[in-house]
Subunit: 456 residues, 3 copies
């Protein structure tokens, strides 16, 4: 019987080892798919940003968008990931953060570490998404090199410092104020929106946006269908993004990034309800499919801070409120001379702020773990102010310096001619696409009888 | 030794708990990705439906499509999910179905329930997909509010009642007749197609579709590339949809929705073979890439009822037969004055019926579990008739009432002018898209020398 | 106590069985999502190839692309999968390979086999991707039937034979030469590129590509936005493709296809770093977003052979080098009269060769398992030559026979008129993107002088 016990003991040990490894592998797979789906966000952003440009700037917009991604990922490898690990307590370097330095053994293939690479990848995609948020707002007049510097600062330094503070189990906003922002409404969207606002103040509006008398012209997206399909692809990718906001604990319940227990089921309920609330809010307010989809995104962002706690109809209501308000914010900014080509400040900046605030308004008292303070309106307001300032100040300061140096914006005549003519060696649509004269009704001959109509 | 045994017992208990939780988490992840991929279906439907519209109706089509999604999800929360749980045996409310009522503790974040939210989410996406099937057929003339009512009825009541009857372990069609429809050919596609047919009979054809002498005009998709790329995205999403048709049983073999053992491998074989058979069938019949992709979808639907049982070359043949026949069905309907703008009745209605029937023709006698009857042609025909009627009757009845009330269709002059001009405050393609002057030949300087040419 | 031991033994046995089954199911799920994401590659290829065509050939390109997929999948069922299993040692049939014959019990739903179907599916998608690589290069003049034969040969015979040799645990290139090509740079991309080059030599350039004096005209992609969004969707899908390049071992560490231990984390690091290096390389060299995205793909391919071993900044550098060189290769070929419409030979052929070579240059000595030789420059060069020849020879030979038989290319007047007018019964853009009347030559007035031509 001793022998039997021994054998059983060996079997149990083997089971424990196997279960541990299975959990590790399944964790790695989960974040692999999160990462893959976040690439879909970039397919979406690419479509959306090109669609939102006028035809003369389409490929310059696409180029800028791609380069933001291309520069953020390696810089996030070289210093972004380390910032997250180093600065949860403010500006003092955390012990142990050297494992995130680019020459660390963890930062490469390592048969004893099935985690760092995939966590880095998911975070690198968060970083690229954050940079892409700024990308759309500044199209059609920002200088490419200036934008790339701003994108690197935003994607590989600013937001990730904010994440260290407010989206990290040891982040001081959480440890001291119980800040709760599970789906990164503040740590990604608010920071990115505030940074973008800072840039826009220095960058100024596009040529032709405002008339001498202060009246406003619409500079229209050249392909609304491309923008809305792009936005829906972004939503697909948000399931990767939000999956990346929950921690897989082998053989135990999920936790959110702060260590509080959570379920993916709660995320599923509230993502869908916030999204659809946002679409309906956008429709009620605008009837414009571009804004309906943008407000769908606002709905997800609005519900993001409390994705783990909302009663789903409340997520719907919060999302719908966000969806109604975001176009009003966009209009408010437009009237004050801030020309945000895609409404990024309203969608991400306002949406993120509203999400953070909603958590304080509707979930105050939600308990915390490890003796950290419970959720409170105060804590959420502190987070909102800190993260907003953390985004706004560098965005404003760096772009102000660039403006003073005369490197922020393309020359006026290039802007008028269109950036593609100067920056891109190929044409977006070399064969054209012609709008038919409305007089050619559908019944009396179609193509053959129709005359092309000049666009303006 | 007693002590050792005790310790071992504790380890085993910990392993059991850990394995149970791991299985739960991995189950939750599986359906999370199913849900995410089903959002891709909606990116696809959006592209497809806008592409299939004429340019004057593009954004109205997109708006309608988005709102169908946006209204089905919350209504599915409020009553759709309960219908599924309440009515498997017909019209009597099942015991225990109150857990699916919107105020139940299961219908929200719940740390002891990692299942309800994610199941609800997957079903909500099925519901949205079902509603979207009807959406494409009725473009360019249905009134938005009328459509939204129909979409809610279809997505959050009718199809889910059908699913309770024929796509549920206790559904009476299965319990009494051995109805077998693993991939929801009948429960989603046939119901949606039949409902759509009911609407179309009352809605009537688009202005200009038929001439006074009864001859037919093609009202052409304004962008076939957008439609076919959209359809391929729908196929991507079908891997989420079909994944949602198999039950993850922690530590045990998969089962289909009826409790019969199944494998995801079988699904993989037959989805790909049905899909490619359908494409080839569509090509043989039409040479039209729009129909090739539509028939690829028909191929998947045709093979769907028996996704767990087909020998893959048979799935290919069934799919190809479906792909050859669907365009014939579309033409048959068109000749009878039924103007289905995207062929939804043929693709989903006929395709679903053929899928259900094929199961009876080629897999009669496939055994069932729990003493339920085996698959039979009779059982499949019963299912086909019941689900077809369940779809058709409310679609026809409600749209007939709407027609009588004069609220089903937009005014004739709005239709002629184009819905975008009336319903949508922005233009789809405001620039038309202007071609560069060809005088700048490809060889002598390119863009810099080119001047935009007003198309005139 | 004996009783307790017995009970404990039963629990342990149940745990072992449950863990084994859980691992199997989770493996099956992993490759299911790989397969689904690889469909995204085909949504991307479809967009990309249609976008790269001139407007007069858009739908013919789409049709060809879809049919390549549709014919490769079933032929891969009937013989492709067997080739992989039969020929790892060269041209002698391996023992046991009959399980991969289409009438084997493994090749269909099988409740005792949760693996064959899903492995087959992933490989079938690799096959379809391989065939699609050739598809883009030959647009606008190849005869559809000729292409389909070539696609089947490439997708269901040639590449999979190469995979049996160099991408299989028993492949002779690995067993004898330590060939290491984890992400299939050689086994998919190089083979496909070399095969394509073989076709292009016989197919000849498109009408109008070269002038009598040997100077070159750009035959421009009609929609660059469609191509770049398509390319980004291909990147999304590459996470499925590369996931399919790593072996899930229940309860144990991943291995690469050769049985060497590996991690998905390493794949994540190096895929993202190679991709972004490639984009930047392409930008440095061309400033053209089409090439930036193509070079992003080159970057992934360049890093693919050693995805399991690279230090991520080295993957970035290898990717960037590939991204700088690929457009130079494309230009080199273009100057020699080889008209590759999308640069497939440069992107996949050159990129794959560079990836295989880089492994020999930078990772020589990386140890192997089971007594197989370590990685060496010689071994990689042998692999490069063998796989290059394996691709080139049949591509060249079959297309030469087709050319001699006069069936390789469409008639000249069809090519000038546009393939859509002859092969496709619908128009791509019936309301816009006006097709120029052939009489309106590119030089004499363009849009203003051109009359829209009803596509007939």
């Amino acid at each position: 019987m001793e022998q039997q016990l021994l054998e059983l003991g060996e079997k149990v040990a083997a089971l424990e080892a196997g279960a541990g490894m299975s959990n590790t592998i399944n964790m790695e797979i989960f974040y692999w798919w999160c990462t893959a789906l976040m690439i879909t966000i970039h397919a979406g952003f690419l479509a959306y940003e090109m669609g939102a440009s006028r035809a003369k700037n389409v490929l310059a917009a696409g180029t800028k968008n791609l380069l933001a991604f291309a520069f953020v990922v390696p810089t996030f490898f070289f210093f972004g990931w380390w910032i997250y690990n180093a600065f949860p307590s403010g500006f003092t370097i955390a012990e142990g953060s050297e494992v995130a330095l680019p020459w660390s053994a963890a930062m490469g293939p390592n048969l004893t570490d099935n985690a760092t690479g995939i966590f880095w990848a998911a975070f690198a995609l968060f970083a690229a998404t954050t940079a892409s948020i700024a990308s759309g707002a500044v199209i059609e007049r920002i200088r490419l090199t200036a934008f790339l510097v701003l994108a690197i600062v935003l994607g590989s330094a600013v937001w990730i410092l904010g994440a260290a503070w407010g989206w990290h189990p040891d982040g001081w906003l959480t440890v001291q104020f119980g800040f709760h922002d599970v789906g990164a409404a503040g740590c990604v969207h608010l920071i990115a929106g505030a940074f973008t606002l800072g840039i826009l103040l220095n960058l100024g509006p596009r040529h032709g946006k405002y008339n001498a008398d202060g009246s406003i012209n619409a500079l229209k997206a050249h392909s609304v269908p491309l923008t809305v399909v792009g936005l829906m692809l972004i939503i697909v990718g948000f399931f990767g993004f939000l999956g990346g906001c929950i921690i897989y604990n082998g053989g135990a319940q999920w936790t959110n990034i702060y260590g509080q227990p959570a379920t993916l089921s709660a995320f599923a309920f509230n993502t869908l309800m916030g999204f659809t609330g946002g679409i309906i809010g956008g429709w009620v307010k605008t009837r414009d499919p571009f804004w309906m989809m943008s407000c769908g995104l606002v709905g997800i962002i609005s519900a993001a801070s409390g994705l783990d706690v909302w009663y789903p109809p409340l997520a719907f209501a919060i999302g719908m409120a966000g969806g109604v308000m975001a176009p009003m914010v966009a209009l408010f900014l437009e009237k004050r001379g801030i020309d945000d080509a895609v409404g990024a400040v309203a969608v991400h900046g306002f949406g993120g702020a509203w999400g953070v605030l909603a958590m304080g308004l509707f979930a105050s008292g939600y308990p915390n773990v490890d003796g950290m303070p419970a959720v409170s309106l105060t804590g959420q307001v502190v987070g909102l102010v800190v993260l907003g300032a953390l985004g706004f100040i560098p965005g404003y300061a760096i772009s102000a310096v660039m403006k003073a140096a005369g490197v922020l914006r393309v020359p006026r005549d290039v802007e008028i001619m269109g950036l593609d003519a100067v920056e891109v060696p190929v044409e977006a649509y070399p064969e054209g696409l012609v709008r038919m004269a409305p007089s050619a009704s559908d019944e009396d001959g179609g193509m053959a009888a129709a005359k092309p109509v000049p666009a303006q």
